[in-house]
Protein backbone atom coordinates (compact mmCIF):
# COMPACT_ATOMS: atom_id res chain seq x y z
CA UNK A 1 0.00 0.00 0.00
CA UNK A 2 2.80 2.32 0.99
CA UNK A 3 4.67 1.47 -2.21
CA UNK A 4 1.67 2.27 -4.34
CA UNK A 5 1.25 5.58 -2.59
CA UNK A 6 4.91 6.38 -3.22
CA UNK A 7 4.55 5.61 -6.93
CA UNK A 8 1.45 7.78 -7.21
CA UNK A 9 3.28 10.63 -5.50
CA UNK A 10 6.28 10.23 -7.80
CA UNK A 11 4.11 10.37 -10.91
CA UNK A 12 2.23 13.37 -9.52
CA UNK A 13 5.55 15.13 -8.88
CA UNK A 14 6.77 14.28 -12.36
CA UNK A 15 3.75 16.10 -13.78
CA UNK A 16 3.44 18.83 -11.16
CA UNK A 17 7.04 20.11 -11.11
CA UNK A 18 7.25 21.07 -14.81
CA UNK A 19 3.81 22.68 -14.60
CA UNK A 20 4.84 24.58 -11.49
CA UNK A 21 7.97 25.86 -13.26
CA UNK A 22 5.90 27.05 -16.22
CA UNK A 23 3.37 28.68 -13.88
CA UNK A 24 6.15 30.42 -11.98
CA UNK A 25 7.60 31.71 -15.26
CA UNK A 26 4.21 33.06 -16.34
CA UNK A 27 3.52 34.67 -12.95
CA UNK A 28 6.98 36.21 -12.78
CA UNK A 29 6.76 37.68 -16.31
CA UNK A 30 3.28 39.08 -15.64
CA UNK A 31 4.50 40.64 -12.44
CA UNK A 32 7.85 41.92 -13.77
CA UNK A 33 6.38 43.80 -16.75
CA UNK A 34 9.86 43.79 -18.28
CA UNK A 35 9.82 44.13 -22.07
CA UNK A 36 12.90 41.92 -22.25
CA UNK A 37 10.96 39.11 -20.61
CA UNK A 38 7.59 38.92 -22.35
CA UNK A 39 4.87 36.84 -20.76
CA UNK A 40 5.12 33.12 -21.33
CA UNK A 41 1.61 33.18 -22.82
CA UNK A 42 2.70 35.88 -25.31
CA UNK A 43 5.73 33.80 -26.28
CA UNK A 44 3.59 30.72 -26.82
CA UNK A 45 1.07 32.60 -28.97
CA UNK A 46 3.96 34.02 -30.99
CA UNK A 47 5.46 30.56 -31.27
CA UNK A 48 2.24 29.15 -32.60
CA UNK A 49 1.85 31.98 -35.13
CA UNK A 50 5.42 31.82 -36.41
CA UNK A 51 6.37 28.20 -36.26
CA UNK A 52 3.13 26.24 -36.60
CA UNK A 53 3.64 26.35 -39.53
CA UNK A 54 3.77 29.62 -41.47
CA UNK A 55 7.55 30.14 -41.23
CA UNK A 56 8.38 26.47 -40.76
CA UNK A 57 9.30 25.74 -44.35
CA UNK A 58 11.16 29.01 -44.84
CA UNK A 59 13.46 28.75 -41.82
CA UNK A 60 13.19 25.44 -39.99
CA UNK A 61 13.61 23.25 -43.06
CA UNK A 62 16.92 24.88 -44.14
CA UNK A 63 18.29 24.58 -40.60
CA UNK A 64 17.28 20.94 -40.31
CA UNK A 65 18.75 20.21 -43.74
CA UNK A 66 22.08 21.70 -42.67
CA UNK A 67 22.13 19.63 -39.49
CA UNK A 68 21.10 16.46 -41.33
CA UNK A 69 23.74 16.86 -44.03
CA UNK A 70 26.54 17.91 -41.70
CA UNK A 71 25.76 15.25 -39.12
CA UNK A 72 25.25 12.58 -41.80
CA UNK A 73 28.62 13.32 -43.41
CA UNK A 74 30.28 13.21 -39.99
CA UNK A 75 28.72 9.82 -39.16
CA UNK A 76 29.77 8.25 -42.47
CA UNK A 77 33.30 9.67 -42.36
CA UNK A 78 33.73 9.02 -38.65
CA UNK A 79 32.89 5.33 -39.00
CA UNK A 80 34.75 4.91 -42.30
CA UNK A 81 37.94 6.43 -40.86
CA UNK A 82 37.50 5.13 -37.32
CA UNK A 83 37.34 1.41 -38.15
CA UNK A 84 40.67 1.20 -40.01
CA UNK A 85 42.32 3.44 -37.40
CA UNK A 86 40.92 1.30 -34.60
CA UNK A 87 42.34 -1.81 -36.25
CA UNK A 88 45.75 -0.43 -37.11
CA UNK A 89 48.20 0.59 -34.41
CA UNK A 90 50.44 2.46 -36.82
CA UNK A 91 47.48 4.25 -38.35
CA UNK A 92 46.61 5.49 -34.87
CA UNK A 93 50.17 6.54 -34.10
CA UNK A 94 50.24 8.63 -37.27
CA UNK A 95 46.72 10.06 -37.05
CA UNK A 96 46.19 10.63 -33.32
CA UNK A 97 48.19 13.88 -32.97
CA UNK A 98 46.01 15.49 -35.64
CA UNK A 99 42.78 14.13 -34.21
CA UNK A 100 43.71 15.28 -30.70
CA UNK A 101 44.58 18.75 -31.95
CA UNK A 102 41.32 19.32 -33.82
CA UNK A 103 39.25 17.81 -31.07
CA UNK A 104 40.75 20.22 -28.53
CA UNK A 105 40.32 23.26 -30.82
CA UNK A 106 37.24 25.29 -29.83
CA UNK A 107 35.09 25.32 -33.01
CA UNK A 108 34.13 29.02 -32.94
CA UNK A 109 37.84 29.91 -33.27
CA UNK A 110 37.68 28.51 -36.78
CA UNK A 111 34.64 30.53 -37.86
CA UNK A 112 36.67 33.66 -38.71
CA UNK A 113 39.20 31.41 -40.45
CA UNK A 114 36.58 29.85 -42.65
CA UNK A 115 35.44 33.35 -43.59
CA UNK A 116 39.02 34.20 -44.59
CA UNK A 117 39.82 30.88 -46.20
CA UNK A 118 36.54 30.15 -47.95
CA UNK A 119 35.60 33.80 -48.57
CA UNK A 120 32.06 33.38 -47.28
CA UNK A 121 29.87 31.29 -45.08
CA UNK A 122 27.34 30.06 -47.59
CA UNK A 123 25.22 27.00 -47.28
CA UNK A 124 27.99 24.62 -48.30
CA UNK A 125 30.48 26.07 -45.81
CA UNK A 126 27.90 25.84 -43.02
CA UNK A 127 27.39 22.15 -43.74
CA UNK A 128 31.15 21.58 -43.96
CA UNK A 129 31.65 23.35 -40.67
CA UNK A 130 29.01 21.28 -38.88
CA UNK A 131 30.40 18.08 -40.43
CA UNK A 132 33.99 18.89 -39.46
CA UNK A 133 33.31 19.40 -35.78
CA UNK A 134 30.79 16.57 -35.49
CA UNK A 135 33.39 14.24 -36.96
CA UNK A 136 35.74 14.08 -33.96
CA UNK A 137 33.48 12.70 -31.21
CA UNK A 138 32.24 10.00 -33.61
CA UNK A 139 35.73 9.24 -34.90
CA UNK A 140 37.25 8.96 -31.42
CA UNK A 141 34.42 6.80 -30.14
CA UNK A 142 34.62 4.52 -33.18
CA UNK A 143 38.35 4.06 -32.63
CA UNK A 144 37.78 3.29 -28.94
CA UNK A 145 34.92 0.95 -29.74
CA UNK A 146 36.96 -0.99 -32.29
CA UNK A 147 39.94 -1.18 -29.93
CA UNK A 148 37.74 -2.57 -27.19
CA UNK A 149 36.78 -5.65 -29.21
CA UNK A 150 37.97 -8.96 -27.86
CA UNK A 151 40.82 -9.89 -30.26
CA UNK A 152 39.89 -13.57 -29.92
CA UNK A 153 36.67 -12.84 -31.79
CA UNK A 154 38.51 -11.36 -34.76
CA UNK A 155 41.15 -14.11 -34.69
CA UNK A 156 38.48 -16.80 -34.54
CA UNK A 157 36.71 -15.31 -37.53
CA UNK A 158 40.00 -15.07 -39.37
CA UNK A 159 40.90 -18.68 -38.70
CA UNK A 160 37.48 -19.74 -39.92
CA UNK A 161 38.34 -17.98 -43.18
CA UNK A 162 35.91 -15.07 -42.84
CA UNK A 163 37.10 -12.42 -45.29
CA UNK A 164 38.23 -9.05 -43.98
CA UNK A 165 35.25 -7.10 -45.32
CA UNK A 166 32.83 -9.63 -43.86
CA UNK A 167 34.76 -9.54 -40.58
CA UNK A 168 34.31 -5.80 -40.35
CA UNK A 169 30.65 -5.91 -41.29
CA UNK A 170 29.69 -8.79 -39.01
CA UNK A 171 32.01 -8.45 -36.02
CA UNK A 172 33.84 -5.13 -35.82
CA UNK A 173 31.01 -2.78 -36.71
CA UNK A 174 28.32 -4.35 -34.48
CA UNK A 175 30.70 -4.60 -31.54
CA UNK A 176 31.70 -0.94 -31.87
CA UNK A 177 28.15 0.35 -32.40
CA UNK A 178 27.28 1.13 -28.76
CA UNK A 179 30.34 3.39 -28.54
CA UNK A 180 29.64 4.90 -31.95
CA UNK A 181 26.19 5.88 -30.76
CA UNK A 182 27.67 7.50 -27.67
CA UNK A 183 29.81 9.61 -29.99
CA UNK A 184 26.81 10.43 -32.15
CA UNK A 185 24.90 11.79 -29.15
CA UNK A 186 27.75 14.18 -28.33
CA UNK A 187 28.02 15.19 -31.99
CA UNK A 188 24.33 15.85 -32.40
CA UNK A 189 24.24 18.45 -29.65
CA UNK A 190 27.38 20.01 -31.17
CA UNK A 191 25.61 20.05 -34.54
CA UNK A 192 22.73 22.12 -33.16
CA UNK A 193 25.13 24.61 -31.57
CA UNK A 194 27.17 24.89 -34.78
CA UNK A 195 23.99 25.33 -36.81
CA UNK A 196 22.91 28.28 -34.70
CA UNK A 197 26.41 29.85 -34.65
CA UNK A 198 26.97 29.56 -38.42
CA UNK A 199 23.53 30.99 -39.09
CA UNK A 200 24.48 34.12 -37.17
CA UNK A 201 26.88 34.79 -40.07
CA UNK A 202 25.73 35.91 -43.53
CA UNK A 203 22.46 34.01 -43.72
CA UNK A 204 19.11 34.63 -45.28
CA UNK A 205 17.36 31.68 -43.77
CA UNK A 206 17.42 29.41 -40.76
CA UNK A 207 16.37 29.62 -37.13
CA UNK A 208 19.68 31.15 -36.03
CA UNK A 209 19.13 33.89 -38.60
CA UNK A 210 15.60 34.56 -37.31
CA UNK A 211 16.92 34.71 -33.77
CA UNK A 212 19.58 37.27 -34.71
CA UNK A 213 17.22 39.41 -36.81
CA UNK A 214 14.54 39.57 -34.14
CA UNK A 215 17.17 40.58 -31.59
CA UNK A 216 18.57 43.26 -33.89
CA UNK A 217 15.09 44.70 -34.49
CA UNK A 218 14.08 44.39 -30.82
CA UNK A 219 11.18 42.07 -31.56
CA UNK A 220 11.35 40.31 -28.26
CA UNK A 221 8.40 37.95 -28.46
CA UNK A 222 9.66 36.46 -31.77
CA UNK A 223 13.14 36.26 -30.30
CA UNK A 224 11.88 34.24 -27.33
CA UNK A 225 9.77 32.13 -29.67
CA UNK A 226 12.92 31.34 -31.67
CA UNK A 227 14.80 30.38 -28.49
CA UNK A 228 11.94 28.06 -27.52
CA UNK A 229 11.96 26.61 -31.03
CA UNK A 230 15.71 25.91 -30.97
CA UNK A 231 15.39 24.31 -27.54
CA UNK A 232 12.57 22.16 -28.83
CA UNK A 233 14.57 21.18 -31.92
CA UNK A 234 17.51 20.16 -29.74
CA UNK A 235 15.22 18.10 -27.53
CA UNK A 236 13.40 16.40 -30.41
CA UNK A 237 16.57 15.58 -32.37
CA UNK A 238 18.08 14.07 -29.23
CA UNK A 239 14.91 12.03 -28.69
CA UNK A 240 14.96 10.84 -32.29
CA UNK A 241 18.55 9.64 -31.95
CA UNK A 242 17.72 7.79 -28.71
CA UNK A 243 14.82 6.03 -30.46
CA UNK A 244 17.05 5.03 -33.39
CA UNK A 245 19.69 3.83 -30.94
CA UNK A 246 17.16 1.70 -29.04
CA UNK A 247 16.09 0.05 -32.27
CA UNK A 248 19.56 -0.53 -33.65
CA UNK A 249 21.04 -1.66 -30.34
CA UNK A 250 18.09 -3.75 -29.17
CA UNK A 251 20.25 -6.88 -29.49
CA UNK A 252 22.98 -5.29 -27.42
CA UNK A 253 20.74 -4.47 -24.48
CA UNK A 254 19.28 -7.96 -24.58
CA UNK A 255 22.75 -9.43 -24.57
CA UNK A 256 23.89 -7.28 -21.68
CA UNK A 257 20.79 -8.08 -19.65
CA UNK A 258 21.44 -11.78 -20.30
CA UNK A 259 25.11 -11.66 -19.27
CA UNK A 260 24.36 -9.56 -16.21
CA UNK A 261 22.18 -12.28 -14.73
Amino acid sequence: MNRRLYHAAAIAAEIAVPLAILAAWQLWTVQAQDPKFPRLSTILVEFQELWLFSQFELHVVPSLTRIALGFGIAVVLGIALGIPLGLSRWGRILAMPHIEWWRAMPPPALLPISIVLLHSIGNRQKVAFIAFFCLFPILLNTIDGVRGIDPTMIDTARSYGVRSFERIRRIVLPAALPQIFAGMRTSLSLAVIMMVLTEYFSSTSGVGYVLLISKNTFQLAPMWAAIVLIGLLGYLLNLLLILVERRVLAWHRGWRAATAQ
Partner: protein, 279 residues
Protein backbone atom coordinates in the same frame (compact mmCIF):
# COMPACT_ATOMS: atom_id res chain seq x y z
CA UNK B 1 54.88 -28.45 -13.02
CA UNK B 2 57.08 -28.20 -16.07
CA UNK B 3 54.78 -25.83 -17.90
CA UNK B 4 55.32 -22.68 -15.76
CA UNK B 5 59.07 -23.26 -15.86
CA UNK B 6 59.03 -23.34 -19.64
CA UNK B 7 56.88 -20.25 -19.78
CA UNK B 8 59.17 -18.28 -17.48
CA UNK B 9 62.24 -19.37 -19.41
CA UNK B 10 60.56 -18.05 -22.53
CA UNK B 11 59.76 -14.69 -21.02
CA UNK B 12 63.25 -14.33 -19.64
CA UNK B 13 64.85 -14.99 -22.98
CA UNK B 14 62.25 -12.78 -24.63
CA UNK B 15 63.11 -9.90 -22.32
CA UNK B 16 66.85 -10.16 -22.21
CA UNK B 17 67.71 -10.97 -25.79
CA UNK B 18 66.59 -8.02 -27.92
CA UNK B 19 67.60 -5.09 -25.73
CA UNK B 20 68.26 -2.99 -28.78
CA UNK B 21 64.99 -4.16 -30.34
CA UNK B 22 62.83 -2.93 -27.43
CA UNK B 23 64.45 0.49 -27.46
CA UNK B 24 63.76 0.73 -31.17
CA UNK B 25 60.22 -0.53 -30.64
CA UNK B 26 59.65 2.14 -28.03
CA UNK B 27 61.29 4.88 -30.03
CA UNK B 28 59.60 4.16 -33.34
CA UNK B 29 56.09 5.37 -32.36
CA UNK B 30 57.51 8.57 -30.91
CA UNK B 31 59.47 9.20 -34.09
CA UNK B 32 56.41 8.42 -36.21
CA UNK B 33 54.31 10.88 -34.20
CA UNK B 34 56.93 13.60 -34.60
CA UNK B 35 57.23 12.81 -38.31
CA UNK B 36 53.47 12.95 -38.74
CA UNK B 37 53.20 16.36 -37.09
CA UNK B 38 56.20 17.66 -39.06
CA UNK B 39 54.67 16.41 -42.29
CA UNK B 40 51.39 18.21 -41.58
CA UNK B 41 53.18 21.46 -40.77
CA UNK B 42 55.34 21.03 -43.89
CA UNK B 43 52.25 20.47 -46.00
CA UNK B 44 50.73 23.66 -44.62
CA UNK B 45 53.91 25.56 -45.48
CA UNK B 46 54.04 24.05 -48.97
CA UNK B 47 50.37 24.65 -49.85
CA UNK B 48 50.73 28.30 -48.96
CA UNK B 49 54.20 28.95 -50.42
CA UNK B 50 53.48 27.10 -53.67
CA UNK B 51 50.33 29.18 -54.08
CA UNK B 52 47.90 26.26 -54.11
CA UNK B 53 45.98 28.47 -51.74
CA UNK B 54 47.06 32.10 -51.95
CA UNK B 55 49.05 33.43 -49.01
CA UNK B 56 46.36 36.03 -48.45
CA UNK B 57 43.86 33.28 -47.68
CA UNK B 58 46.22 30.88 -45.94
CA UNK B 59 49.42 32.44 -44.57
CA UNK B 60 52.39 30.07 -44.48
CA UNK B 61 53.00 28.05 -41.33
CA UNK B 62 56.27 29.85 -40.53
CA UNK B 63 54.64 33.27 -41.02
CA UNK B 64 51.80 32.31 -38.67
CA UNK B 65 54.09 31.00 -35.94
CA UNK B 66 56.27 34.10 -36.27
CA UNK B 67 53.17 36.26 -35.86
CA UNK B 68 52.12 34.25 -32.80
CA UNK B 69 55.63 34.63 -31.37
CA UNK B 70 55.63 38.40 -31.82
CA UNK B 71 52.09 38.65 -30.45
CA UNK B 72 53.27 36.82 -27.37
CA UNK B 73 55.55 39.77 -26.71
CA UNK B 74 52.64 42.20 -26.54
CA UNK B 75 50.69 43.02 -23.42
CA UNK B 76 47.37 43.06 -25.33
CA UNK B 77 47.69 39.39 -26.20
CA UNK B 78 48.29 38.30 -22.62
CA UNK B 79 45.51 40.57 -21.38
CA UNK B 80 43.12 38.88 -23.82
CA UNK B 81 44.46 35.48 -22.93
CA UNK B 82 43.95 36.19 -19.23
CA UNK B 83 40.39 37.42 -19.84
CA UNK B 84 39.51 34.27 -21.78
CA UNK B 85 40.98 32.05 -19.08
CA UNK B 86 39.17 34.04 -16.39
CA UNK B 87 35.79 33.70 -18.14
CA UNK B 88 36.43 29.99 -18.62
CA UNK B 89 37.53 29.40 -15.03
CA UNK B 90 34.66 31.34 -13.47
CA UNK B 91 32.11 29.63 -15.71
CA UNK B 92 33.47 26.17 -15.00
CA UNK B 93 33.80 26.94 -11.29
CA UNK B 94 30.21 28.13 -10.94
CA UNK B 95 28.94 25.19 -12.98
CA UNK B 96 30.85 22.77 -10.73
CA UNK B 97 29.70 24.46 -7.53
CA UNK B 98 26.08 24.08 -8.67
CA UNK B 99 26.09 20.84 -10.63
CA UNK B 100 27.88 18.59 -8.13
CA UNK B 101 25.66 19.30 -5.07
CA UNK B 102 22.47 19.27 -7.16
CA UNK B 103 23.61 16.08 -8.86
CA UNK B 104 24.30 14.39 -5.51
CA UNK B 105 20.90 15.50 -4.24
CA UNK B 106 19.03 14.28 -7.32
CA UNK B 107 21.10 11.11 -7.55
CA UNK B 108 20.45 10.20 -3.92
CA UNK B 109 16.70 10.48 -4.12
CA UNK B 110 14.70 8.54 -6.65
CA UNK B 111 11.76 10.80 -5.90
CA UNK B 112 13.61 14.06 -6.55
CA UNK B 113 15.11 12.66 -9.73
CA UNK B 114 11.69 11.76 -11.11
CA UNK B 115 10.25 15.11 -10.14
CA UNK B 116 12.95 17.04 -12.01
CA UNK B 117 13.56 14.65 -14.87
CA UNK B 118 11.34 16.40 -17.41
CA UNK B 119 12.68 19.94 -16.86
CA UNK B 120 16.27 18.64 -17.00
CA UNK B 121 15.66 16.66 -20.16
CA UNK B 122 14.15 19.77 -21.73
CA UNK B 123 16.79 22.26 -20.64
CA UNK B 124 19.84 20.08 -21.24
CA UNK B 125 19.77 19.93 -25.05
CA UNK B 126 19.08 23.67 -25.40
CA UNK B 127 22.03 24.93 -27.38
CA UNK B 128 23.61 27.64 -25.26
CA UNK B 129 24.40 29.48 -28.49
CA UNK B 130 20.70 30.31 -28.70
CA UNK B 131 20.99 32.34 -25.50
CA UNK B 132 23.48 34.83 -26.99
CA UNK B 133 20.88 37.32 -28.30
CA UNK B 134 19.08 37.25 -24.96
CA UNK B 135 22.31 37.87 -23.06
CA UNK B 136 23.07 40.76 -25.40
CA UNK B 137 19.89 42.46 -24.28
CA UNK B 138 20.06 41.62 -20.59
CA UNK B 139 23.63 41.44 -19.33
CA UNK B 140 25.25 43.12 -22.34
CA UNK B 141 28.85 42.66 -23.43
CA UNK B 142 30.15 42.05 -19.94
CA UNK B 143 32.11 39.40 -18.14
CA UNK B 144 28.82 38.27 -16.55
CA UNK B 145 27.47 37.31 -19.98
CA UNK B 146 30.53 35.25 -20.75
CA UNK B 147 30.51 33.55 -17.35
CA UNK B 148 26.79 32.85 -17.56
CA UNK B 149 27.11 31.30 -21.01
CA UNK B 150 30.11 29.17 -20.01
CA UNK B 151 28.46 28.10 -16.76
CA UNK B 152 25.18 27.22 -18.48
CA UNK B 153 26.92 25.07 -21.05
CA UNK B 154 29.25 23.39 -18.55
CA UNK B 155 26.49 22.72 -15.99
CA UNK B 156 24.59 19.98 -17.85
CA UNK B 157 27.29 17.42 -18.66
CA UNK B 158 28.56 17.70 -15.09
CA UNK B 159 25.08 17.35 -13.60
CA UNK B 160 24.28 14.26 -15.64
CA UNK B 161 27.64 12.63 -14.82
CA UNK B 162 27.23 13.34 -11.10
CA UNK B 163 23.74 11.83 -11.06
CA UNK B 164 25.04 8.71 -12.85
CA UNK B 165 27.96 8.49 -10.46
CA UNK B 166 25.89 8.70 -7.29
CA UNK B 167 23.41 6.15 -8.66
CA UNK B 168 26.20 3.75 -9.60
CA UNK B 169 27.19 3.21 -5.97
CA UNK B 170 27.73 -0.42 -5.03
CA UNK B 171 24.46 -1.26 -3.21
CA UNK B 172 26.19 -3.89 -1.07
CA UNK B 173 28.63 -1.30 0.28
CA UNK B 174 25.74 1.03 1.03
CA UNK B 175 23.68 -1.67 2.75
CA UNK B 176 26.68 -2.82 4.76
CA UNK B 177 27.30 0.71 5.99
CA UNK B 178 23.64 1.10 6.83
CA UNK B 179 23.52 -2.11 8.83
CA UNK B 180 26.62 -1.03 10.73
CA UNK B 181 24.69 2.06 11.72
CA UNK B 182 26.66 4.55 9.63
CA UNK B 183 24.66 7.76 9.48
CA UNK B 184 23.14 9.34 6.40
CA UNK B 185 25.70 12.13 6.12
CA UNK B 186 28.61 9.80 6.75
CA UNK B 187 27.34 7.40 4.08
CA UNK B 188 27.19 10.26 1.61
CA UNK B 189 30.65 11.45 2.51
CA UNK B 190 32.38 8.07 2.76
CA UNK B 191 30.64 5.94 0.16
CA UNK B 192 28.54 7.87 -2.34
CA UNK B 193 30.91 10.74 -2.97
CA UNK B 194 34.10 8.67 -3.45
CA UNK B 195 32.40 6.31 -5.86
CA UNK B 196 30.97 9.26 -7.81
CA UNK B 197 34.38 10.93 -8.15
CA UNK B 198 35.44 9.16 -11.38
CA UNK B 199 32.15 10.15 -13.02
CA UNK B 200 32.53 13.72 -11.82
CA UNK B 201 36.08 13.77 -13.23
CA UNK B 202 34.78 12.65 -16.63
CA UNK B 203 32.06 15.31 -16.41
CA UNK B 204 34.72 17.90 -15.57
CA UNK B 205 36.76 16.95 -18.62
CA UNK B 206 33.74 17.33 -20.91
CA UNK B 207 32.58 20.53 -19.21
CA UNK B 208 36.02 22.14 -19.28
CA UNK B 209 36.01 21.90 -23.08
CA UNK B 210 32.42 23.15 -23.33
CA UNK B 211 33.17 26.09 -21.04
CA UNK B 212 36.11 27.15 -23.21
CA UNK B 213 34.00 26.94 -26.39
CA UNK B 214 31.33 29.13 -24.83
CA UNK B 215 33.71 31.63 -23.24
CA UNK B 216 35.34 32.07 -26.64
CA UNK B 217 31.94 32.27 -28.35
CA UNK B 218 30.85 35.06 -26.02
CA UNK B 219 33.98 37.00 -26.92
CA UNK B 220 33.72 36.39 -30.64
CA UNK B 221 30.01 37.02 -31.05
CA UNK B 222 29.25 39.49 -28.28
CA UNK B 223 32.51 41.42 -28.09
CA UNK B 224 33.25 40.54 -24.47
CA UNK B 225 36.98 41.35 -24.06
CA UNK B 226 39.28 38.38 -24.60
CA UNK B 227 41.05 36.37 -27.30
CA UNK B 228 37.79 35.93 -29.23
CA UNK B 229 37.20 39.65 -29.37
CA UNK B 230 40.78 40.34 -30.50
CA UNK B 231 40.23 37.75 -33.23
CA UNK B 232 36.98 39.37 -34.30
CA UNK B 233 38.70 42.75 -34.60
CA UNK B 234 41.62 41.22 -36.54
CA UNK B 235 39.19 39.56 -38.91
CA UNK B 236 37.23 42.73 -39.60
CA UNK B 237 40.46 44.65 -40.29
CA UNK B 238 41.59 41.94 -42.68
CA UNK B 239 44.63 41.00 -40.57
CA UNK B 240 44.62 37.44 -41.82
CA UNK B 241 47.92 36.37 -40.29
CA UNK B 242 46.76 37.55 -36.89
CA UNK B 243 43.49 35.63 -37.24
CA UNK B 244 45.43 32.43 -37.90
CA UNK B 245 47.90 33.11 -35.09
CA UNK B 246 45.02 33.65 -32.65
CA UNK B 247 43.35 30.44 -33.79
CA UNK B 248 46.64 28.65 -33.04
CA UNK B 249 46.78 30.25 -29.60
CA UNK B 250 43.20 29.18 -28.88
CA UNK B 251 43.98 25.68 -30.09
CA UNK B 252 46.96 25.46 -27.75
CA UNK B 253 44.81 26.69 -24.86
CA UNK B 254 42.19 24.05 -25.69
CA UNK B 255 44.88 21.38 -25.89
CA UNK B 256 46.37 22.42 -22.53
CA UNK B 257 42.95 22.28 -20.85
CA UNK B 258 42.28 18.89 -22.40
CA UNK B 259 45.63 17.45 -21.31
CA UNK B 260 45.24 18.70 -17.72
CA UNK B 261 41.66 17.52 -17.30
CA UNK B 262 42.19 14.11 -18.86
CA UNK B 263 45.16 13.62 -16.51
CA UNK B 264 42.84 14.44 -13.60
CA UNK B 265 40.31 12.01 -15.00
CA UNK B 266 42.88 9.21 -15.28
CA UNK B 267 43.99 9.83 -11.71
CA UNK B 268 40.43 9.79 -10.42
CA UNK B 269 39.76 6.58 -12.33
CA UNK B 270 42.84 4.77 -11.13
CA UNK B 271 41.21 2.88 -8.28
CA UNK B 272 37.94 2.30 -10.12
CA UNK B 273 36.99 -1.34 -10.90
CA UNK B 274 36.83 -0.56 -14.62
CA UNK B 275 40.56 0.22 -14.58
CA UNK B 276 41.72 -2.93 -12.80
CA UNK B 277 43.97 -5.00 -14.99
CA UNK B 278 42.58 -8.39 -14.09
CA UNK B 279 38.82 -8.62 -13.91
Amino acid sequence: MAAPGVASAETVSGETQPAFGTVAARLAPVLATVASITAALGLWEFVSRAGLISEQDLPAMTTTFQELWSMMHTRAFWAGFGQTVRGWALGLGIATALAVPIGILLGSSQFALRAFRVPIEFLRPIPSAALIPLLFLTLGTTLQSEVFLAAFGAFWPLLVQTIYGVRDVDPVALDTARSFGVGRFERLYRIKLPSAVPYIATGLRISSAVALILAFTAELFMGVPGLGQIMNVAESFGLTVQVYALALATGFLGLAIYVVFSAIERRALRWHPSQRVST
